[in-house]
């Protein structure tokens, strides 16, 4: 059974039909890419899955559970983590606190015990820290641990955002243009890390991406989108040479 299934999802903003009746299914353990020209509705699909927008029509199923109407904050608890196109980190906090916030879904203590900092809270903090350190090690972020986000270069912020998403220990990871703003070396590292995340941690990945090299290197299947409509789904090479996709990018 597929991990995520979108059935004819549409969203309209007034007269603008940003996404129209798009259906797809993402299998467990897959790296699934969404490509398309600017304004095709890629990020909008992410926002529909992570419930920042409401679907006008259609349904989204995660692990066979209908998540079309669950509250936004519940999405993370279900095991879906995401990053944002232009990074949405907590700017005034250190990398460490950002990653610790990623652990928030695993919180088992209540406010009173936290105000008194009972032993259970201390144990939980140490467990969170362990999770965070594992992620820091995986993504080589050791040297940035105590730095304030506002002082970090863009490439590092991107990685910190991925790290924060991993701290949720999600089953599905949504990456919105992970390589934008990265230099070629960093992009290479990224495809390597994507493989680690996918294979070692067993996390299913959906990414919106413009870099076709990264897409064909890292992804198992690709969905092409144009003007809010599904063009085709298939293996990277197939999609890259699909006449409709070429027309969407290059025009007639």
């Amino acid at each position: 059974m597929s991990l995520l299934r979108a059935e004819k999802i549409s969203v309209h903003f007034g007269g603008v039909k940003a996404v129209q009746e798009v259906s797809f299914a993402v299998e467990r353990g897959e790296v699934f890419s969404i490509v398309g020209p600017n304004g095709a509705g890629k990020t909008t699909i992410f926002n529909l899955i992570s419930r920042i927008y409401d679907c006008t029509h259609g349904q989204v199923f995660f692990d066979n559970e209908d998540i079309t109407t669950v509250p936004t904050h519940k999405i993370a608890e279900l095991g879906i983590a995401r990053t944002f196109q232009n990074t949405e980190l907590f700017e005034q906090e250190s990398v460490l606190s950002n990653l610790l916030i990623g652990c928030h879904v695993h919180r088992r203590t209540n406010l009173v015990s936290e105000l008194l900092f009972l032993p259970a809270v201390r144990r939980q903090e140490l467990a969170f820290r362990k999770t965070v350190e594992d992620v820091i090690e995986l993504l080589d972020l050791q040297s940035y641990r105590d730095q304030i986000i506002g002082n970090l270069p863009y490439g590092v912020r991107k990685m910190v955002e991925i790290a924060r998403a991993l701290c949720l220990q999600p089953r599905l990871l949504l990456l919105d243009e992970p390589s934008s703003g990265l230099n070629p070396e960093e992009t290479d590292d990224l495809s390597f890390w994507l493989e680690d995340i996918n294979q070692e941690l067993g996390i299913t990945v959906i990414m919106v991406e413009h870099d076709m090299n990264l897409v064909s290197q890292a992804s198992d299947r690709v969905l092409a989108l144009a003007d809010g409509q599904l063009v085709t789904i298939g293996a990277p090479a197939e999609v890259q040479n699909h006449p409709e996709v070429l027309r969407a990018y290059l025009g007639d």
Binding site: E77, F84, N86, F90, S97, I101, C103, H104, L115, E125
Partner: protein, 358 residues
């Protein structure tokens, strides 16, 4: 510069990070604990006031500094705390108990205020909280059977087991003890998930939500905690005033409280203390100023609020990080001397944020 070798995760959790802190905070604690030995009656009263302001400031800092919600109506929570405390004291309940009721009741009111306030941010929220403060003020004036209206309400002396806590030394220690407890609670809050959720909401709501943080619940909690601490400060403030009247809790008081956290330094607990000292001692400073200038200038009505407002604006423009921010710069200057670069704290403009989705 001090470099700390970290070998355990606990080192980032514990409250005292290194021996230097232990030494200086220990010294400070010793100084305030021996206060009655080196302070006269008047100064002890002023210090107690600073402690009370600091408790209220902790409350406001949770809301403004850590959750990023502005309140121009915190005098209302101070009033609620003070009146509830005084009212139950007149009924004959013991004062630790009434203090607890005052704190919890203020927290409840804060939580209820959060419900309509959740939909607002920035200037709109500030105006809404201001309106709330006006409503509370009117209630204090018109609910004569409980508040005494303009006649006011006498605050019974705090007594327990026949001991009187109204004397300057006892009151000083009561305020100090409660401040220390509140500081400890807030420090705990900030190193645990609830506090991190608040800073997350402050920095990016979209992102906080996708990390599984319930925005409405977090904001409500911040309001309730903030109001609770301020209510407790109000209960203590009632004893300081000894006689409650609605005109003790006006917009000026709210602005003073906000001034305290902004001048002290938003987003730091050091800032609360600096701000409290500043606000607690500023009226004395203004009084001295009035004495030293020609009477024509000293008699200007509204001099005090004008000076408060001016200071707030000057800090917002020239030192948004407050006294604590300035102190950090000075400290860094000496630590790195002669290598300090002026641009270290230059603010960078950031254009990297995703457009707001909400």
């Amino acid at each position: 510069m001090r470099f700390i070798r970290k070998t355990r995760y606990e080192q980032d959790i514990q409250l005292v990070k290194h021996n230097g802190q232990l030494f200086w905070f220990g010294l400070l604690l010793l100084a305030v604990l021996t206060g009655p030995l080196w302070l006269d009656r008047f100064l002890m009263g002023e210090f107690a006031l600073v402690f009370i302001y600091a408790i209220a400031g902790l409350g406001l800092m949770i809301l403004v500094g850590y959750t990023g919600l502005v309140s121009l109506g915190h005098a209302a929570f101070l009033a609620v705390g003070a009146y509830v405390h005084a009212y139950f004291l007149t009924l004959g309940l013991p004062f630790p108990f009434t203090m607890l009721i005052a704190t919890l009741f203020s927290a409840l009111v804060g939580g209820l205020i959060a419900v309509p306030a959740l939909r607002m941010t920035g200037i709109y929220l500030a105006v809404a909280t201001l309106a709330f403060a006006v409503i509370v003020e009117q209630v204090l004036v018109h609910w004569v059977s409980v508040t005494g209206g303009f006649r006011g309400l006498a605050v019974p002396k705090p007594e327990l087991f026949g001991l009187n806590f109204a004397g300057p030394t006892a009151f000083y220690f009561m305020c100090l003890l409660l401040l220390l407890v509140c500081l400890w609670l807030v420090l705990n809050l900030l190193r645990s998930p609830a506090g991190r959720a608040m800073t997350a909401v402050r920095d990016s709501e979209t992102s906080a939500e996708s990390m599984g943080i319930h925005i409405a619940r977090t904001k409500t909690l911040a309001f309730a905690l903030s109001a609770g601490f301020t209510g407790l400060a109000g209960a203590l403030f009632a004893h300081r005033l000894t006689y409650l009247a609605p005109d003790a809790f006006t917009i000026i008081t709210s602005i003073q409280l906000l001034l305290m956290v902004v001048v002290g330094g938003l987003g730091s607990l050091h800032g609360v203390i600096y701000g409290a000292i500043f606000i607690g001692l500023l009226p004395q400073g203004i009084a001295i100023f009035r004495d030293s200038v020609p009477p024509a200038l000293a008699q200007i009505p509204g001099l005090e609020p004008a000076i408060f407002g001016l200071i707030l604006i000057l800090f917002l423009v020239y030192e948004p990080l407050g006294i604590y921010g300035r102190w950090r710069k000075v400290r860094l200057f000496f630590e790195e001397f002669p290598l300090y670069r002026k641009s270290t704290y230059k603010r960078q403009k950031s254009f990297l944020r995703t457009e707001r989705l909400h």
